[in-house]
Protein backbone atom coordinates (compact mmCIF):
# COMPACT_ATOMS: atom_id res chain seq x y z
CA UNK A 1 0.00 0.00 0.00
CA UNK A 2 1.29 3.40 -0.95
CA UNK A 3 0.31 6.36 1.16
CA UNK A 4 -0.94 9.30 -0.89
CA UNK A 5 -2.36 11.65 1.75
CA UNK A 6 -2.09 12.16 5.47
CA UNK A 7 -4.91 14.17 7.04
CA UNK A 8 -5.66 15.16 10.64
CA UNK A 9 -8.01 12.23 11.00
CA UNK A 10 -7.30 9.72 8.29
CA UNK A 11 -4.66 8.35 5.94
CA UNK A 12 -5.36 7.62 2.31
CA UNK A 13 -3.60 4.73 0.57
CA UNK A 14 -3.44 3.50 -3.00
CA UNK A 15 -3.73 -0.28 -2.92
CA UNK A 16 -4.53 -3.42 -4.84
CA UNK A 17 -7.79 -5.21 -4.08
CA UNK A 18 -8.32 -8.47 -5.99
CA UNK A 19 -6.48 -7.07 -8.96
CA UNK A 20 -8.25 -3.74 -8.80
CA UNK A 21 -6.60 -0.43 -8.07
CA UNK A 22 -8.38 0.98 -5.02
CA UNK A 23 -8.25 3.69 -2.40
CA UNK A 24 -8.07 2.66 1.24
CA UNK A 25 -9.09 5.30 3.75
CA UNK A 26 -7.95 4.45 7.24
CA UNK A 27 -8.92 6.41 10.34
CA UNK A 28 -5.84 6.69 12.51
CA UNK A 29 -5.52 6.00 16.22
CA UNK A 30 -5.29 9.04 18.43
CA UNK A 31 -2.96 8.62 21.37
CA UNK A 32 -4.71 11.38 23.28
CA UNK A 33 -7.95 9.42 23.48
CA UNK A 34 -8.27 6.43 25.80
CA UNK A 35 -8.56 3.18 23.88
CA UNK A 36 -12.27 2.49 24.47
CA UNK A 37 -13.26 5.95 23.34
CA UNK A 38 -10.88 6.00 20.39
CA UNK A 39 -12.15 2.67 19.07
CA UNK A 40 -15.76 3.75 19.37
CA UNK A 41 -15.28 7.11 17.62
CA UNK A 42 -13.31 5.70 14.72
CA UNK A 43 -15.77 2.87 14.24
CA UNK A 44 -18.79 5.19 14.27
CA UNK A 45 -17.21 7.56 11.80
CA UNK A 46 -16.11 4.84 9.42
CA UNK A 47 -19.65 3.51 9.33
CA UNK A 48 -21.15 6.96 8.99
CA UNK A 49 -18.94 7.89 6.09
CA UNK A 50 -19.83 4.71 4.21
CA UNK A 51 -23.53 5.28 4.86
CA UNK A 52 -23.34 8.89 3.69
CA UNK A 53 -21.65 7.82 0.48
CA UNK A 54 -24.39 5.33 -0.18
CA UNK A 55 -27.04 7.93 0.57
CA UNK A 56 -25.34 10.33 -1.84
CA UNK A 57 -25.44 7.73 -4.58
CA UNK A 58 -29.13 7.19 -3.92
CA UNK A 59 -29.64 10.95 -4.20
CA UNK A 60 -28.20 10.88 -7.69
CA UNK A 61 -24.72 12.13 -6.95
CA UNK A 62 -21.75 10.13 -8.21
CA UNK A 63 -19.36 8.89 -5.54
CA UNK A 64 -16.67 6.19 -5.55
CA UNK A 65 -18.00 2.63 -5.34
CA UNK A 66 -17.47 1.13 -1.92
CA UNK A 67 -15.92 -2.35 -2.16
CA UNK A 68 -15.44 -3.09 1.49
CA UNK A 69 -15.84 -1.57 4.94
CA UNK A 70 -13.40 -3.06 7.44
CA UNK A 71 -14.78 -2.03 10.79
CA UNK A 72 -11.99 -3.70 12.76
CA UNK A 73 -9.29 -1.72 10.95
CA UNK A 74 -11.46 1.42 10.56
CA UNK A 75 -10.96 1.24 6.82
CA UNK A 76 -13.09 1.89 3.78
CA UNK A 77 -11.97 0.31 0.53
CA UNK A 78 -13.30 2.25 -2.43
CA UNK A 79 -12.97 2.81 -6.14
CA UNK A 80 -9.93 4.67 -7.33
CA UNK A 81 -11.06 7.47 -9.62
CA UNK A 82 -8.51 7.96 -12.33
CA UNK A 83 -9.82 11.35 -13.35
CA UNK A 84 -9.01 15.03 -13.02
CA UNK A 85 -9.47 17.12 -9.92
CA UNK A 86 -11.84 20.00 -10.71
CA UNK A 87 -9.49 22.27 -8.81
CA UNK A 88 -6.65 21.53 -11.23
CA UNK A 89 -8.53 21.73 -14.50
CA UNK A 90 -11.36 24.21 -14.25
CA UNK A 91 -9.26 27.31 -14.88
CA UNK A 92 -7.78 25.79 -18.02
CA UNK A 93 -11.03 24.97 -19.77
CA UNK A 94 -13.40 26.92 -21.99
CA UNK A 95 -16.09 29.14 -20.54
CA UNK A 96 -18.70 26.77 -21.91
CA UNK A 97 -17.18 23.78 -20.12
CA UNK A 98 -16.82 25.77 -16.91
CA UNK A 99 -20.48 26.68 -16.99
CA UNK A 100 -21.50 23.08 -17.61
CA UNK A 101 -19.41 21.85 -14.68
CA UNK A 102 -20.53 24.59 -12.30
CA UNK A 103 -24.14 23.86 -13.09
CA UNK A 104 -23.46 20.19 -12.41
CA UNK A 105 -21.85 21.11 -9.08
CA UNK A 106 -24.88 23.19 -8.13
CA UNK A 107 -27.28 20.42 -9.06
CA UNK A 108 -25.31 17.81 -7.12
CA UNK A 109 -25.18 19.91 -3.95
CA UNK A 110 -28.90 20.62 -4.30
CA UNK A 111 -29.55 16.88 -4.47
CA UNK A 112 -27.35 16.20 -1.45
CA UNK A 113 -28.99 18.91 0.63
CA UNK A 114 -32.48 17.96 -0.42
CA UNK A 115 -31.77 14.43 0.80
CA UNK A 116 -30.45 15.51 4.18
CA UNK A 117 -26.78 15.06 3.36
CA UNK A 118 -24.18 17.66 4.33
CA UNK A 119 -20.84 16.96 2.68
CA UNK A 120 -18.85 18.96 5.23
CA UNK A 121 -15.86 19.75 3.04
CA UNK A 122 -17.09 20.78 -0.40
CA UNK A 123 -14.16 22.22 -2.25
CA UNK A 124 -13.04 21.81 -5.83
CA UNK A 125 -10.26 19.53 -4.51
CA UNK A 126 -12.93 17.07 -3.46
CA UNK A 127 -14.55 16.87 -6.88
CA UNK A 128 -13.29 14.66 -9.68
CA UNK A 129 -14.16 14.64 -13.36
CA UNK A 130 -14.03 11.19 -14.90
CA UNK A 131 -15.71 9.63 -17.91
CA UNK A 132 -17.78 12.77 -18.46
CA UNK A 133 -19.15 12.55 -14.93
CA UNK A 134 -18.67 14.63 -11.79
CA UNK A 135 -17.75 12.66 -8.66
CA UNK A 136 -17.74 13.83 -5.06
CA UNK A 137 -15.17 12.38 -2.71
CA UNK A 138 -14.27 12.60 1.00
CA UNK A 139 -17.45 12.55 3.06
CA UNK A 140 -15.31 12.28 6.20
CA UNK A 141 -16.69 15.45 7.75
CA UNK A 142 -20.19 14.83 6.48
CA UNK A 143 -23.33 14.66 8.57
CA UNK A 144 -27.01 13.94 8.14
CA UNK A 145 -28.91 17.19 8.56
CA UNK A 146 -31.76 19.19 7.10
CA UNK A 147 -30.87 22.41 8.94
CA UNK A 148 -30.39 25.45 6.73
CA UNK A 149 -27.51 26.48 8.99
CA UNK A 150 -25.60 23.29 8.10
CA UNK A 151 -26.47 23.63 4.43
CA UNK A 152 -25.34 27.25 4.55
CA UNK A 153 -22.00 26.35 6.10
CA UNK A 154 -21.54 23.72 3.39
CA UNK A 155 -22.21 26.20 0.60
CA UNK A 156 -20.18 28.95 2.24
CA UNK A 157 -17.14 26.72 2.28
CA UNK A 158 -17.47 26.21 -1.45
CA UNK A 159 -17.83 29.94 -1.97
CA UNK A 160 -14.60 30.54 -0.05
CA UNK A 161 -12.86 27.83 -2.04
CA UNK A 162 -13.94 29.40 -5.32
CA UNK A 163 -12.97 32.87 -4.20
CA UNK A 164 -9.54 31.74 -3.10
CA UNK A 165 -8.58 29.28 -5.80
CA UNK A 166 -10.27 30.33 -9.02
CA UNK A 167 -9.99 33.50 -11.05
CA UNK A 168 -13.28 33.49 -12.89
CA UNK A 169 -15.79 35.28 -10.67
CA UNK A 170 -18.75 33.82 -12.59
CA UNK A 171 -18.04 30.26 -11.48
CA UNK A 172 -19.74 30.41 -8.11
CA UNK A 173 -22.66 32.39 -9.58
CA UNK A 174 -23.32 29.52 -11.97
CA UNK A 175 -23.18 27.04 -9.09
CA UNK A 176 -25.74 29.10 -7.17
CA UNK A 177 -28.06 29.50 -10.16
CA UNK A 178 -28.23 25.79 -10.67
CA UNK A 179 -28.52 25.14 -6.91
CA UNK A 180 -31.56 27.43 -6.85
CA UNK A 181 -33.18 25.82 -9.87
CA UNK A 182 -32.83 22.37 -8.37
CA UNK A 183 -33.73 22.97 -4.73
CA UNK A 184 -36.91 24.55 -3.36
CA UNK A 185 -35.33 25.76 -0.13
CA UNK A 186 -32.30 27.25 -1.84
CA UNK A 187 -33.28 30.89 -1.25
CA UNK A 188 -33.26 30.51 2.52
CA UNK A 189 -29.97 28.65 2.44
CA UNK A 190 -28.35 31.40 0.36
CA UNK A 191 -29.59 33.97 2.86
CA UNK A 192 -27.83 31.91 5.53
CA UNK A 193 -24.63 31.92 3.50
CA UNK A 194 -24.52 35.70 3.65
CA UNK A 195 -25.04 35.63 7.41
CA UNK A 196 -22.31 33.03 7.85
CA UNK A 197 -19.93 35.06 5.68
CA UNK A 198 -20.42 38.07 7.96
CA UNK A 199 -19.35 36.01 10.98
CA UNK A 200 -15.96 35.64 9.33
CA UNK A 201 -15.41 32.10 10.51
CA UNK A 202 -14.62 29.01 8.45
CA UNK A 203 -11.83 30.79 6.65
CA UNK A 204 -9.51 28.62 4.68
CA UNK A 205 -5.87 29.16 4.06
CA UNK A 206 -5.18 28.29 0.47
CA UNK A 207 -2.14 26.23 -0.26
Amino acid sequence: MEIIKRGAEAEIYLADWHGRKVIVKRRIKKGYRIKELDERIREQRTKREALLMMAARKAGVSVPIIYDVRIKDKEIVMQYLNGERIKDVIDLKSQQWQKKICREIGRSIANLHENGIIHGDITTSNMIWMHEKLYFIDFGLGIKSIENEDRGVDLHLLMEAFKAAHKNKNLFQWVLESYEENFDEAKEVIKKVEEIARRGRYMRRVA
Binding site: R33, G200, R201, R205, A207
Partner: protein, 328 residues
Protein backbone atom coordinates in the same frame (compact mmCIF):
# COMPACT_ATOMS: atom_id res chain seq x y z
CA UNK B 1 5.80 52.06 29.91
CA UNK B 2 3.74 50.80 32.86
CA UNK B 3 0.10 49.72 32.64
CA UNK B 4 -2.37 48.85 35.36
CA UNK B 5 -4.92 46.34 34.09
CA UNK B 6 -8.23 45.48 35.73
CA UNK B 7 -9.92 42.16 35.08
CA UNK B 8 -13.56 41.76 36.06
CA UNK B 9 -15.57 39.73 33.58
CA UNK B 10 -16.97 37.06 35.90
CA UNK B 11 -16.05 35.63 39.31
CA UNK B 12 -12.57 37.18 39.54
CA UNK B 13 -11.53 40.74 40.23
CA UNK B 14 -7.88 41.13 39.44
CA UNK B 15 -5.27 43.82 39.04
CA UNK B 16 -2.05 43.40 37.15
CA UNK B 17 0.75 45.91 36.84
CA UNK B 18 2.91 45.24 33.82
CA UNK B 19 5.87 47.02 32.34
CA UNK B 20 6.70 46.81 28.65
CA UNK B 21 10.24 47.57 27.62
CA UNK B 22 10.81 46.86 23.96
CA UNK B 23 8.87 43.68 23.38
CA UNK B 24 9.59 42.35 26.85
CA UNK B 25 6.72 41.70 29.25
CA UNK B 26 7.71 42.38 32.82
CA UNK B 27 5.06 41.51 35.38
CA UNK B 28 5.42 43.74 38.43
CA UNK B 29 2.29 42.60 40.25
CA UNK B 30 -0.65 40.30 39.64
CA UNK B 31 -3.21 40.03 42.45
CA UNK B 32 -6.80 38.87 42.48
CA UNK B 33 -9.76 37.76 44.54
CA UNK B 34 -12.29 35.19 43.46
CA UNK B 35 -15.96 35.26 44.33
CA UNK B 36 -17.20 31.87 45.49
CA UNK B 37 -20.97 31.56 45.85
CA UNK B 38 -22.10 29.78 49.02
CA UNK B 39 -24.40 27.67 46.93
CA UNK B 40 -25.38 27.49 43.29
CA UNK B 41 -23.58 29.25 40.46
CA UNK B 42 -22.34 32.80 40.02
CA UNK B 43 -24.95 35.43 40.87
CA UNK B 44 -23.90 38.42 38.72
CA UNK B 45 -24.96 41.06 41.22
CA UNK B 46 -23.34 39.26 44.15
CA UNK B 47 -20.16 38.85 42.13
CA UNK B 48 -20.16 42.58 41.29
CA UNK B 49 -20.66 43.46 44.97
CA UNK B 50 -17.73 41.21 45.82
CA UNK B 51 -15.59 43.05 43.25
CA UNK B 52 -16.56 46.45 44.68
CA UNK B 53 -15.65 45.28 48.15
CA UNK B 54 -12.24 43.89 47.23
CA UNK B 55 -11.10 46.39 44.63
CA UNK B 56 -9.60 49.01 47.00
CA UNK B 57 -7.67 46.33 48.88
CA UNK B 58 -6.14 44.71 45.84
CA UNK B 59 -5.35 48.10 44.35
CA UNK B 60 -3.17 48.94 47.35
CA UNK B 61 -1.76 45.44 47.43
CA UNK B 62 -0.77 45.56 43.76
CA UNK B 63 0.90 48.97 44.02
CA UNK B 64 2.82 47.76 47.04
CA UNK B 65 3.86 44.52 45.34
CA UNK B 66 4.96 46.33 42.20
CA UNK B 67 6.94 48.67 44.40
CA UNK B 68 5.96 51.75 42.40
CA UNK B 69 4.28 55.06 43.04
CA UNK B 70 0.75 55.18 41.65
CA UNK B 71 1.88 58.19 39.60
CA UNK B 72 4.33 55.94 37.72
CA UNK B 73 1.41 54.30 35.93
CA UNK B 74 1.15 55.43 32.30
CA UNK B 75 -1.97 53.62 31.16
CA UNK B 76 -5.16 52.11 32.59
CA UNK B 77 -6.57 49.00 30.89
CA UNK B 78 -9.71 47.07 31.78
CA UNK B 79 -11.73 44.12 30.54
CA UNK B 80 -14.43 45.68 28.37
CA UNK B 81 -16.05 42.32 27.50
CA UNK B 82 -17.27 39.69 27.01
CA UNK B 83 -18.67 38.88 30.44
CA UNK B 84 -21.38 39.46 33.01
CA UNK B 85 -22.79 42.98 32.83
CA UNK B 86 -22.62 43.97 36.53
CA UNK B 87 -19.05 42.65 36.86
CA UNK B 88 -17.90 44.38 33.67
CA UNK B 89 -19.43 47.68 34.76
CA UNK B 90 -17.72 47.48 38.14
CA UNK B 91 -14.29 46.99 36.58
CA UNK B 92 -14.99 49.68 33.96
CA UNK B 93 -16.08 52.18 36.59
CA UNK B 94 -12.93 51.56 38.62
CA UNK B 95 -10.83 52.03 35.48
CA UNK B 96 -12.55 55.29 34.54
CA UNK B 97 -12.03 56.67 38.05
CA UNK B 98 -8.32 55.80 37.98
CA UNK B 99 -7.92 57.23 34.49
CA UNK B 100 -9.55 60.53 35.42
CA UNK B 101 -7.80 60.77 38.76
CA UNK B 102 -4.33 60.02 37.40
CA UNK B 103 -5.00 61.84 34.09
CA UNK B 104 -3.80 58.80 32.16
CA UNK B 105 -5.27 57.23 29.02
CA UNK B 106 -7.78 54.40 29.33
CA UNK B 107 -8.19 51.39 27.08
CA UNK B 108 -10.78 48.58 27.00
CA UNK B 109 -9.45 45.10 26.27
CA UNK B 110 -11.18 42.02 24.86
CA UNK B 111 -10.89 39.37 27.56
CA UNK B 112 -10.45 36.37 25.22
CA UNK B 113 -7.68 38.04 23.26
CA UNK B 114 -5.95 38.96 26.51
CA UNK B 115 -5.72 35.24 27.35
CA UNK B 116 -3.98 34.67 24.05
CA UNK B 117 -1.62 37.64 24.25
CA UNK B 118 -0.39 36.87 27.76
CA UNK B 119 0.27 33.30 26.66
CA UNK B 120 2.33 34.50 23.71
CA UNK B 121 4.26 36.91 25.92
CA UNK B 122 5.10 34.37 28.62
CA UNK B 123 5.67 31.14 26.72
CA UNK B 124 7.47 32.41 23.64
CA UNK B 125 5.13 30.93 21.06
CA UNK B 126 4.78 33.10 17.98
CA UNK B 127 1.67 32.27 16.01
CA UNK B 128 -0.30 29.68 17.96
CA UNK B 129 -3.74 28.20 17.84
CA UNK B 130 -5.23 29.02 21.25
CA UNK B 131 -7.46 26.53 22.99
CA UNK B 132 -9.30 28.81 25.39
CA UNK B 133 -11.21 26.86 28.00
CA UNK B 134 -12.91 28.50 30.97
CA UNK B 135 -16.24 28.53 32.74
CA UNK B 136 -18.16 30.54 30.20
CA UNK B 137 -15.90 30.34 27.17
CA UNK B 138 -14.71 27.48 25.01
CA UNK B 139 -13.10 28.64 21.80
CA UNK B 140 -10.38 27.72 19.37
CA UNK B 141 -8.81 30.96 18.21
CA UNK B 142 -6.08 31.74 15.70
CA UNK B 143 -4.75 34.75 13.86
CA UNK B 144 -5.63 34.92 10.20
CA UNK B 145 -5.83 37.77 7.71
CA UNK B 146 -5.60 40.58 10.21
CA UNK B 147 -7.88 39.25 12.93
CA UNK B 148 -8.13 36.72 15.69
CA UNK B 149 -10.74 34.39 14.33
CA UNK B 150 -12.79 31.80 16.14
CA UNK B 151 -12.37 28.54 14.26
CA UNK B 152 -14.30 26.45 16.71
CA UNK B 153 -16.38 27.05 19.79
CA UNK B 154 -18.98 25.53 22.02
CA UNK B 155 -22.47 25.42 20.60
CA UNK B 156 -24.06 25.46 24.05
CA UNK B 157 -22.27 25.76 27.43
CA UNK B 158 -18.62 26.34 28.25
CA UNK B 159 -16.54 23.34 29.36
CA UNK B 160 -16.01 24.87 32.83
CA UNK B 161 -19.72 25.46 33.14
CA UNK B 162 -20.34 21.81 32.27
CA UNK B 163 -17.91 20.66 34.98
CA UNK B 164 -19.30 23.13 37.54
CA UNK B 165 -22.90 22.16 36.91
CA UNK B 166 -22.08 18.49 37.26
CA UNK B 167 -20.11 19.22 40.44
CA UNK B 168 -22.96 21.22 41.91
CA UNK B 169 -25.40 18.35 41.35
CA UNK B 170 -23.17 15.88 43.17
CA UNK B 171 -22.35 18.29 45.99
CA UNK B 172 -18.86 19.50 45.06
CA UNK B 173 -17.87 23.09 45.90
CA UNK B 174 -17.47 25.80 43.22
CA UNK B 175 -15.35 25.73 41.11
CA UNK B 176 -15.81 21.98 40.71
CA UNK B 177 -13.12 21.41 38.06
CA UNK B 178 -10.20 20.83 40.45
CA UNK B 179 -12.30 18.45 42.59
CA UNK B 180 -13.45 16.50 39.56
CA UNK B 181 -9.83 16.23 38.43
CA UNK B 182 -8.82 14.72 41.79
CA UNK B 183 -11.73 12.27 41.89
CA UNK B 184 -11.23 11.29 38.23
CA UNK B 185 -7.71 10.03 39.00
CA UNK B 186 -9.30 7.11 40.88
CA UNK B 187 -11.64 6.25 38.01
CA UNK B 188 -10.92 3.16 35.93
CA UNK B 189 -14.07 2.23 34.10
CA UNK B 190 -14.92 4.22 30.99
CA UNK B 191 -18.66 4.83 30.77
CA UNK B 192 -19.95 5.55 27.30
CA UNK B 193 -20.99 9.19 26.92
CA UNK B 194 -22.08 11.22 23.90
CA UNK B 195 -19.12 12.55 21.94
CA UNK B 196 -20.23 15.76 20.36
CA UNK B 197 -17.92 17.25 17.75
CA UNK B 198 -19.43 19.04 14.77
CA UNK B 199 -16.77 20.20 12.36
CA UNK B 200 -14.62 22.37 14.58
CA UNK B 201 -17.34 23.01 17.15
CA UNK B 202 -18.19 21.12 20.32
CA UNK B 203 -21.24 20.76 22.55
CA UNK B 204 -21.33 19.75 26.20
CA UNK B 205 -24.91 19.90 27.44
CA UNK B 206 -25.76 16.38 26.24
CA UNK B 207 -22.75 14.95 28.05
CA UNK B 208 -23.77 16.77 31.22
CA UNK B 209 -27.27 15.30 31.08
CA UNK B 210 -25.89 11.82 30.40
CA UNK B 211 -23.53 12.11 33.40
CA UNK B 212 -26.33 13.22 35.68
CA UNK B 213 -28.34 10.14 34.67
CA UNK B 214 -25.41 7.96 35.70
CA UNK B 215 -25.02 9.46 39.19
CA UNK B 216 -27.22 6.94 40.99
CA UNK B 217 -26.01 3.95 38.96
CA UNK B 218 -22.25 4.29 38.77
CA UNK B 219 -19.31 5.24 40.98
CA UNK B 220 -18.59 8.96 41.08
CA UNK B 221 -14.92 8.40 40.25
CA UNK B 222 -15.82 6.52 37.07
CA UNK B 223 -18.25 9.23 36.00
CA UNK B 224 -15.68 11.99 36.63
CA UNK B 225 -13.07 10.01 34.72
CA UNK B 226 -15.37 9.40 31.76
CA UNK B 227 -16.58 12.99 31.77
CA UNK B 228 -13.04 14.34 31.62
CA UNK B 229 -11.79 11.88 29.03
CA UNK B 230 -14.75 12.54 26.73
CA UNK B 231 -14.77 16.34 26.99
CA UNK B 232 -10.99 16.74 26.77
CA UNK B 233 -10.70 14.39 23.79
CA UNK B 234 -13.29 16.49 21.99
CA UNK B 235 -11.29 19.62 22.74
CA UNK B 236 -8.07 18.01 21.51
CA UNK B 237 -9.81 16.96 18.32
CA UNK B 238 -11.16 20.41 17.43
CA UNK B 239 -7.86 22.03 18.37
CA UNK B 240 -6.09 19.59 16.05
CA UNK B 241 -8.52 20.28 13.22
CA UNK B 242 -7.96 24.01 13.61
CA UNK B 243 -4.21 23.44 13.49
CA UNK B 244 -4.48 21.36 10.33
CA UNK B 245 -6.87 23.86 8.79
CA UNK B 246 -4.78 26.94 9.54
CA UNK B 247 -1.47 25.11 9.01
CA UNK B 248 -0.09 26.32 12.32
CA UNK B 249 2.25 24.20 14.41
CA UNK B 250 1.92 25.75 17.85
CA UNK B 251 -0.85 25.09 20.35
CA UNK B 252 -1.36 27.34 23.35
CA UNK B 253 -3.62 26.79 26.34
CA UNK B 254 -5.57 29.50 28.13
CA UNK B 255 -8.44 29.80 30.60
CA UNK B 256 -9.03 28.33 34.05
CA UNK B 257 -9.89 24.81 32.88
CA UNK B 258 -6.43 24.63 31.28
CA UNK B 259 -5.01 24.26 34.82
CA UNK B 260 -6.27 20.67 34.63
CA UNK B 261 -3.21 18.40 34.35
CA UNK B 262 -5.04 15.71 32.40
CA UNK B 263 -6.19 18.25 29.82
CA UNK B 264 -2.63 19.51 29.52
CA UNK B 265 -1.41 15.96 29.02
CA UNK B 266 -4.03 15.21 26.35
CA UNK B 267 -3.21 18.36 24.39
CA UNK B 268 0.51 17.69 24.72
CA UNK B 269 0.07 14.19 23.26
CA UNK B 270 -1.98 15.60 20.39
CA UNK B 271 0.75 18.15 19.67
CA UNK B 272 3.53 15.56 19.86
CA UNK B 273 1.73 13.18 17.51
CA UNK B 274 1.50 15.87 14.85
CA UNK B 275 5.00 17.21 15.53
CA UNK B 276 3.69 20.52 16.80
CA UNK B 277 4.80 22.46 19.85
CA UNK B 278 2.80 22.73 23.05
CA UNK B 279 2.71 25.86 25.22
CA UNK B 280 1.06 26.50 28.55
CA UNK B 281 1.66 29.49 30.84
CA UNK B 282 1.71 29.08 34.67
CA UNK B 283 -1.70 28.63 36.35
CA UNK B 284 -1.71 32.19 37.65
CA UNK B 285 -1.91 33.42 34.04
CA UNK B 286 -4.28 30.70 32.81
CA UNK B 287 -7.07 31.80 35.13
CA UNK B 288 -8.61 35.26 34.80
CA UNK B 289 -5.99 37.80 35.82
CA UNK B 290 -5.22 41.50 35.63
CA UNK B 291 -1.77 41.06 34.11
CA UNK B 292 -3.17 39.78 30.82
CA UNK B 293 -5.42 42.83 30.57
CA UNK B 294 -2.54 45.19 31.35
CA UNK B 295 -0.25 43.52 28.80
CA UNK B 296 -2.85 43.53 26.01
CA UNK B 297 -3.66 47.15 26.86
CA UNK B 298 0.01 48.00 26.38
CA UNK B 299 0.11 46.27 22.98
CA UNK B 300 -3.00 48.14 21.86
CA UNK B 301 -1.83 51.50 23.15
CA UNK B 302 1.64 51.24 21.66
CA UNK B 303 0.17 50.35 18.28
CA UNK B 304 -1.70 53.64 18.34
CA UNK B 305 -5.14 52.69 19.64
CA UNK B 306 -6.84 55.34 21.76
CA UNK B 307 -10.18 55.30 23.52
CA UNK B 308 -12.24 58.27 24.63
CA UNK B 309 -14.09 57.93 27.91
CA UNK B 310 -17.37 57.76 25.98
CA UNK B 311 -16.09 54.73 24.11
CA UNK B 312 -15.50 52.67 27.24
CA UNK B 313 -19.02 51.29 27.49
CA UNK B 314 -18.84 47.60 28.32
CA UNK B 315 -19.75 44.96 25.73
CA UNK B 316 -21.25 41.84 27.24
CA UNK B 317 -21.24 39.95 23.95
CA UNK B 318 -17.97 41.30 22.57
CA UNK B 319 -16.79 38.81 20.01
CA UNK B 320 -13.18 37.84 19.47
CA UNK B 321 -13.37 38.43 15.73
CA UNK B 322 -14.75 41.95 16.13
CA UNK B 323 -11.46 43.27 17.49
CA UNK B 324 -9.21 45.32 15.23
CA UNK B 325 -5.73 43.88 15.65
CA UNK B 326 -3.30 46.75 15.20
CA UNK B 327 -0.28 45.26 16.93
CA UNK B 328 0.46 42.27 14.69
Amino acid sequence: MICLGIEGTAHTIGIGIVEKSGSKCNILANVSRMYKPEKGGIHPREAANHHVKHFPKILLESIEKADINIKDIDLIAFSIGPGLGPCLRTAATAARVLSLMLKKPIIGVNHCIAHLEIGRALTGCIDPVLLYVSGGNTQVIAFMEGKYRVFGETLDIGIGNCLDKFGREVGLPFPAGPEIEKIARKGKKYLSLPYSVKGMDVAFSGILTACLHLVKKEKLEDICYSLQETCFSMLAEVAERAMAHTEKDEILLGGGVACNKRLQEIIRIMATERKARFFCPPNEFLVDNGAMIAWTGLLMHESGMKMKLEETKVRQNYRTDEVEITWR
